[in-house]
Symmetry: C2
Subunit: 438 residues, 2 copies
C-alpha cells in the first residue's frame, strides 16, 4: 500500500534516552513497523539514539552507527523531524526540548515531571515556532486521556477530572484490601515485583499523582495548574484496620487525584479517599489506572488501562509520533496550541468540601460520645454515623463519618477534640468521595 516515494521518505525520529521506555519505542517500531506504515502511509525510522550506555543500546539490535552521546548531532541532523524525549527528569531534558523546538523540530515526550513544572515555557516555545509538543504518555501510560480532553470531549465544559493515576499505590492499596496486609508489607511486595521503586516516596507520597493531575487539570479547565497548586497527602498512614472498617461501611480505599471546578475556582488535590464500592473507580484494581471525566454534555466518561510500563507507554508515544507525522505532512504542526485561556484561581484547601471518616480513641465512660459530638456540632460538622468499634488499650475506638463539610471546619473540630481529656488519640482521618457519583 505504500507508494514508492513514501517508502523512500520515512519519518525520521531522534530518540533521547534508551532506558525502559526508550527501549519500548525501539521494540514497538520493530514489531509493528509494517502496520504503522500501512496506517500512516510512511515508515517511521529511528535516525539517532542519544544514550551514554552504548553497549546497552547495541544489545537491543540498534545499528551502532546511529547511537550517540552528543545531543548536537541529533539537533543538527536536518533529516530528523521529530524528537522523542524519554530521558525523564528536568535537566537536560528541558534544555534539549527547548533547543529542538527552536531548531524547528517537533517533540513527543513522556516526561510528566517536566510538563508539570515547565509546561508554560515549553508550550509557549512550541507555539512561537509553530511546532508540535505532544505528551500523551505523560499521564496514564497508554490511556488516551490527553487526546480525550484536548479533542474528543472538546465541546464540553469539563466539570471534573478525577481518578487513580498512580499504579504503585493502587497495587499497594488493592493488596492491603484483598489480603488484609499492612502498609509496609504490601509496599515491600510491590518493590519485590518491580511495581515500586527502592525509594518509593514520589509514588506513596502522592507527588507523582499530583504532577499528573496538575497536567490534566490544566487541559480540562484551560487554565495553568502546576504541581505546587495541588494539595497532596500520601498513603503512608493508611492501616489495614481503616480499610477493613471502610469495607464494612461499603467503601473501597483509593489514592484519588481530584480536580474539579467549584464556583469558578479549581479544587485540586491528591489524597487517600473512601469511595462507594459500586463507584466505577472502585473496580480499578492492581496496577491499573482509571480516570473519570465529567463534561456538561457527555456526562461521565471513564478511561481505564495500564497507567505505566514499557509497552503501554511506547503505545502512547508512537501514536503521538504518528499524529505529529501527519501534521508535518500537511504542514500544520502547532495546530492545537496551548489551551490555557482561562484565568482561574486555585481554591484554598481549607475552603474545599468533603465527607470524612474519622477513627479515634476515647475514654470508655458515659458522656464521651456526647462530648465528641458536641465538639463537631460547635464547628458546624454534621455527623452521618458514629460507631463504637472495639475496646483497645482500655479505650473505646470510635469511627465517625460526617456529612459534607468544609475542610477548615473539620480541622478546627479535630483540634478541639485533641485538646479534650476524653479523647486519647485521633487515629486517622480519611476523606470520603464519590457518593454523589462525582
Amino acid at each position: 500500500m505504500l507508494s514508492g516515494e513514501n517508502q523512500k521518505n520515512p519519518v525520521k525520529i531522534g530518540l533521547l534516552g534508551c532506558g525502559t521506555v526508550g527501549s519500548g519505542v525501539v521494540l514497538l517500531l520493530r514489531e509493528n513497523g509494517e502496520h504503522i506504515a500501512q496506517r500512516l502511509g510512511r515508515n517511521i525510522t529511528i535516525a539517532k539514539v542519544l544514550d551514554k550506555d552504548f553497549e546497552k543500546v547495541k544489545q537491543l539490535g540498534v545499528d551502532p552507527n546511529i547511537i550517540t552521546s552528543d545531543f548536537q548531532q541529533i539537533l543538527n541532523d536536518p533529516e530528523i523531524e521529530i524528537i522523542v524525549e524519554v530521558m525523564g527528569g528536568i535537566e537536560p531534558a528541558r534544555s534539549f526540548i527547548l533547543e529542538a523546538l527552536r531548531n524547528g523540530k517537533n517533540v513527543v515526550t513522556a516526561n510528566k515531571d517536566l510538563i508539570a513544572q515547565s509546561g508554560r515555557e515549553l508550550f509557549a516555545t512550541a507555539q512561537q515556532f509553530q511546532r508540535d509538543l505532544y505528551f500523551e504518555a505523560s499521564v496514564g501510560g497508554g490511556i488516551p486521556v490527553i487526546a480525550a480532553l484536548k479533542q474528543s470531549l472538546a465541546a464540553n465544559k469539563i466539570e471534573s477530572v478525577s481518578g487513580i493515576v498512580n499504579g504503585t499505590t493502587n497495587y499497594i492499596l488493592s493488596k492491603m484490601s484483598r489480603d488484609g496486609e499492612d502498609y509496609q508489607f504490601a509496599l515491600s511486595e510491590a518493590q519485590r515485583l518491580g511495581y515500586a521503586e527502592a525509594d518509593p516516596s514520589s509514588d506513596v507520597g502522592g507527588h507523582d499523582a499530583a504532577r499528573k493531575i496538575s497536567i490534566l487539570a490544566s487541559i480540562a479547565f484551560g487554565a495553568r495548574v502546576t504541581y505546587s497548586d495541588v494539595f497532596v497527602e500520601g498513603i503512608e498512614k493508611i492501616s489495614a484496620l481503616d480499610i477493613s472498617y471502610g469495607n464494612e461501611l461499603g467503601y473501597v480505599l483509593k489514592l484519588l487525584a481530584i480536580a474539579k471546578l467549584d464556583n469558578d475556582e479549581i479544587d485540586v488535590r491528591v489524597h487517600p479517599a473512601f469511595i462507594p464500592s459500586h463507584h466505577p473507580l472502585a473496580a480499578v484494581g492492581e496496577v491499573f489506572n482509571g480516570i473519570l471525566i465529567q463534561g456538561n454534555f457527555v456526562g461521565d466518561i471513564m478511561l481505564y488501562g495500564r497507567g505505566a510500563g514499557q509497552r503501554p507507554t511506547a503505545s502512547a508515544i508512537v501514536s503521538d509520533v504518528m499524529e505529529v507525522a501527519r501534521n508535518i505532512q500537511y504542514g500544520d504542526t502547532g495546530r492545537i496550541s496551548c489551551t490555557c485561556y482561562a484565568d482561574l484561581k486555585i481554591k484554598a484547601f481549607s475552603d474545599t468540601h468533603s465527607k470524612y471518616y474519622i477513627r479515634l480513641l476515647a475514654q470508655d465512660k458515659p458522656g464521651v460520645l456526647a462530648g465528641i459530638a458536641g465538639a463537631f456540632g460547635r464547628n458546624l460538622v454534621s455527623l452521618a454515623s458514629v460507631i463504637q468499634k472495639r475496646n483497645y488499650q482500655e479505650k473505646a475506638e470510635i469511627v465517625l463519618v460526617t456529612h459534607t463539610v468544609r475542610e477548615g471546619n473539620i480541622q478546627t473540630a479535630l483540634q478541639e477534640l485533641i485538646g479534650m481529656d476524653i479523647v486519647a488519640e485521633i487515629s486517622n482521618v480519611i476523606r470520603v468521595e464519590g457518593e454523589d457519583g462525582r
Copy 2:
C-alpha cells in the same frame, strides 16, 4: 481571546434533522458556544436547519429564517462548510451526504445504520474529494472510541474490540439481574422509561449492536466488515433463571459485541454472554456502554460512558465539528482517509470458539448424566462442570458448563442430545466469555 477576524468568520454548519440529537446540537452550541470559541479560536454557528417540522424547530429558539425543508438550499450555500447529518436512516441521508461531499462540504454524522451499510461508498467519496467524514457519534454516544482506534491507539496492532454497545439491552439485563425480573417485565419497564422503543427489535435482537461492532471492527483491523458479516443473537430468550444460575457460578450476563482476530481471520459476533463478575465489563451497568480494546502494546483499555442520549451524542458531534473546523482552517481535510487496507476474511461462525453454559431438562433416572456426557464426549466437547439444579415437571434440570470448544462441535452435540430419549428439552445455551481476560 478571539481575534476580530475569527469572530467575523465563524464556522458555518448545516444541520440535517432537528429531532432529539439535532436539538442536542442546537442546545450545546448555545450553552457552550463561548467555551468552544475560546478552544477553537472561531465561533461555530448553525447557518441552516433542514427539518419538515418548522414549528418544532422554531420552539427551540432557532431563527425561523434559517429553517428549510429543501436540502438544495443547504447544499448550495457556499458559506456552509460542514454538514451535520442527524436525520438517521438510510435514505435520504445517504444521498445527501454523498452530494455534500461531492460539493466540497465536510460531513459529521451520527448515523450508524448508514456507516455500517454504506461505509465503503461514503468513505471512498470523501477520499476522492479530500473531505472529512467524521462519525464518532455513531458508536458509543459520547465515548471517544473511534478517535481512540483511529488515532490514540494507532501504533498498536489491535487484537480485539469487545463490549457493551447497546444501552437498552444493558438496562434490561441489569434490571433482570438486580431484581430477578423476567425479560418481558424488564422490557416493559425500559419502554416506560424511554430506554426502549415501542418496537424494540433492533435493540433486543442485537442488530443495533451488530451495526456498531461492524464499524469498530472495520477501524480496528483496517478491514471492511459490514453488518451482514456479524453473527447476531438477541436477548429475547434469556430467562431470570439463567441469570440466577449464572450468578451462582460467578458470572454476570451481558449482551456482548465481540470482534477479534483469530489466525488472521475476523471473529465478529453479537450474543448474550456470561462474563466473570470481576471482569471490567461486568461493572458496566444500567444504560452505560463499555468498550474493551486490546492492543499488542497498550494491553487492555476500557472506555466507559453513556452510549446514547441527546447530550452525550451532541458532545461527540460537536467535538467532531471542532476537529473538522481545524482541518478546514489548515487546508487538510481528508487527512485521515479510509483505513481499510487489510484484506481479512470473516471467520466462519461454526469455526469460532467459546465456552458454553447449557441448561436442559432430562429424565430423572440413573445413567442419564452418563448418557448426556457421552454425547458431548463424542463431539469433542469437554465439560468443566455439571450440576443438577432442581426437579421440574418431573424432570431433572441440569446445568453444564463446557471448556473452550468449537461452535460447530457444540451444535452437533446439541443436535445429538435433542434426538435422545433421555433429554426432554434444551432450555437455553449461553456462551461464556472473558475468563482469559479477553
